[in-house]
Subunit: 488 residues, 2 copies
């Protein structure tokens, strides 16, 4: 039987154009090629490759590299997964090294969840939301309402929820820092809303530049954009900047005057090497106490996650966001929206509990927890510094001192011949550089164009999670050879 | 300092109108009221309530009720959460009742994931996708390509992905069965696309009525709707129908002729009490083998989940979808879209592995697995039958014989006075009935209007997951009193 050629329903020309517009370089072509090399190496078919290992420095994925999970957290989770273990208390305590507080926490969480295999309340398990509210209150010195806490599948899903509510027309705009974590631009593209870029100030440690925000806002308004929110990533991704209190006050001032929802992405709040983390919630409450009434119109959604910090549990997809100052009728819509996805992963919710309520001084698991936590912190700081020192020695590379988060975002100045060679391949120069780096060394980083950068500048983002310094040496060697090749 | 009233950025009048339009009754006002009662009872403040327990029959959430997790699954997951247990092999085997195959599977999964705390490939862990493909091949007798399998956070997230790709303009339409699980209408509303309802045939066990599909399609086209896909839920939610092979062939025939993507929601594939489950993939491949060329244009996305069946692990948010016949350029966009959310929960992915690759005959955990599986199946069937028998005795209630899934969806005929009383409260009559049921008995079900029903008919959906029969008695007694009260 012969057949006439038949067309499918879907082609690249008729699917959702807004999905097509979205860009997400962190897991794009470079990452795909790195995975191909990785499986070639795993299947011993990598004989022709000039390296024997892939270093995934493209994504903040601590446990894919060196970071060990916190023992207390994982012991509790093992009991949640198989509660009959709790009936073998003597074996747990005497043969397996579990402490009594591990058992207690598991019993508490099982009481709250009934079973981690059951859907929870769409907003998250109530007892865990109570713990989050206590954590926030303790961190900020201002109360937090568990009714305003939403547990989420990582912070990404929280950002997705907030942007879904805010973006109401194709003219809706959201101020997004550039460079930025591409979740923001990608989600705005999918929602057919406008990204209103405001450039961070590389010359001032990637700080938030109020003039840049004001002029971005004015320009957007002049173009008919209805700017409704401002996103701030603090500590910064990809920049590694850690904002001072004054910067945050200034952002809140603009938000109050311009009626902007503040989306505070604070997932790196414990990854701070220089200075101190200031939460938007605390600074807002301080301002509200100092000048009652003046900041009451501010709507703040602040996000946190189990994926980063010393927890590093990306794969568990846990996080939360806290809403402050939202209209109750809007909150009802947020609840309905999250309920369509039923509930965040319950085991991820339990990790949120453990993150916000770790073993306290005097409890049996505290000493080990503290030691593990401090070791991870010290390791990250040491590696950030080593990488920074290496970048300082590289020709045409300039990098801000590491302040926070998990990334360095150096500027690279490439010779004109390299820019030309890139153009011949139809690539941006930073992309070309990153592909060459991957092909030569197995080190995968992300070109600055994946995050946005000022016209005429080039960067790349690298995590400093990979253990050892051998891979840093590979980058240094590659860079020298690359520069020599294209110096012309 | 005095303050002038300041407006917020967001109000119910200026947020995303498409989110506002979405309806999701399964977790709506009734469910919220049930949760309020539950916490009153928990805090011993329920003295005035005429019941001492809430029965959540509104949502297919097996482990919130009676269903126990499968031992093999949870033993493996406990080791994944705390891998140092694997170093205590003797304790696991001799003191804790773990079998050797539990340890082997955990080692396999740790090798594949590295750590379950690490992000995986956005499409899912490659080794787990291989297992899914083998499962599909074994189930259907036709090969499956692991490259076409996408692991997802429950089937809901898979449906969300497919609809995001398909819905390109406000005129895009998707054929959705009515009654339906409201994920479909809610997601289409959020995406500003059109739901094209086709009514299922209650008089033929809620079967798929080809004439209804054809006339829905013709009507939609006449109204300028660009119909691009058809969703089929088999076994049915909320109807409990299980489709025969002929029904599926007919749907595929229409899909081939009309160029419709087929979205086959097969999450209840093991919850079948009458007849046999036929997958869309198998029937499609059979048709393609019988008449080469004729069905080559069909695009099929079929979904499965760890939430239902004898697994019942809703809280773990695991699932997958398989793509067949999609254009590679479209597939690239699907990959990019899922990569924006980074990856599905890794422990949920591991549960997918366990579901599709359970202990085999001759392996040490097989006997217990088989027994647990069969007991759950028998319990569900017995409860479905008990509920069905009770409905048969109730005045004005008619119910189809249970065939599959976790639900019964009886018709209720209410006296005119009840309809009037409902109208006075501004409620639909079925909603009014369900609120009365909850207020009197603590049993929470969902009104038919939450799923869609033919004009002039009334239904409710109840799960048959709650243990025992006492709660069924409560419904019967309530119904009699309700009918007596409103008979007039």
């Amino acid at each position: 039987m012969s057949s006439t050629p038949q067309l499918r329903s879907l082609s690249i020309d008729n699917i959702n154009p807004h999905v097509k517009e979205a860009k997400y370089a962190v897991r794009g072509e470079l990452a795909v090629r790195a995975e191909t090399y990785r499986s070639q190496l795993a299947q011993q078919q990598g004989g022709s490759l000039p390296f024997d290992k892939i270093i995934s420095a493209n994504i903040g994925n601590p446990q894919q590299l060196d970071q060990k999970p916190i023992t207390f957290f994982r012991q509790v989770l093992s009991l949640l997964e198989y509660p009959p273990l709790l009936e073998k208390e003597d074996v747990l305590l005497n043969n397996l090294g579990y402490q009594q507080d591990v058992l207690e926490r598991a019993r508490f969480l099982l009481k709250e969840c009934r079973s981690i295999g059951a859907y929870s309340h769409s907003q998250g398990v109530p007892g865990i939301r109570n713990s989050v509210a206590r954590f926030i209150a303790e961190r900020d010195g201002h109360p937090s309402d568990p009714g305003s806490v939403y547990l989420s599948g990582g912070a990404s899903s929280g950002v997705n929820t907030l942007l879904h509510i805010i973006c109401s027309t194709p003219e809706t705009g959201v101020l997004v820092p550039i460079p930025q974590y591409p979740l923001y631009t990608a989600t705005l593209a999918v929602l057919n809303a406008r990204c209103v870029p405001y450039y961070l100030d590389e010359n001032h440690a990637w700080g938030t530049d109020m003039d840049a925000i004001r002029s971005a806002l004015a320009k957007a308004k002049a173009e008919g954009t209805d700017v409704r929110a401002i996103a701030v990533i603090n500590p910064g991704n990809p920049t590694g900047a850690s904002l001072g209190e004054e910067d945050i006050k200034n952002v809140l001032e603009i938000a109050a005057n311009e009626k902007l929802v503040v989306i505070a992405d604070e997932v790196y709040q414990t990854n701070v090497f220089l200075g101190k983390f200031h939460s938007f919630k605390k600074v807002l409450r301080d301002l509200q106490s100092a000048e009652p009434g003046k900041y009451d119109n501010i709507e703040l959604g602040s996000l946190h996650s189990v994926s980063k910090g010393m927890v590093g549990e990306c794969g568990h997809r846990g996080g939360y966001f806290e809403l402050v100052g939202f209209d109750p009728k809007v909150v009802e819509q947020i609840y309905k929206f999250v309920s369509i996805s039923l509930c965040p992963p319950v085991i991820g919710q339990c990790l949120v509990e453990l993150m916000v309520n770790p073993p306290r001084e005097g409890e049996p698991s505290h000493a080990l927890y503290k030691q593990e936590y401090n070791d991870i912190f010290a390791g990250l700081k040491a590696r950030a510094t080593a990488l920074y020192e290496a970048f300082k020695e590289m020709e045409g590379v300039e990098c801000q001192e590491p302040q926070g988060s998990m990334y360095l975002f150096p500027t690279i100045r490439l010779p004109p011949c390299a820019v030309e060679a890139a153009a011949k391949e139809g690539r941006k120069a930073d992309e070309f550089y990153c592909f060459r780096l991957l092909d030569s060394t197995g080190v995968c980083v992300v070109p600055g164009s994946g995050f946005g950068q000022k016209e005429g500048t080039l960067h790349f983002r690298t995590t400093f999670l990979a253990p050892g310094t051998e891979w840093v040496g590979r980058i240094v060697k590659f860079h020298k050879e690359f520069m020599d090749e294209f110096k012309g």
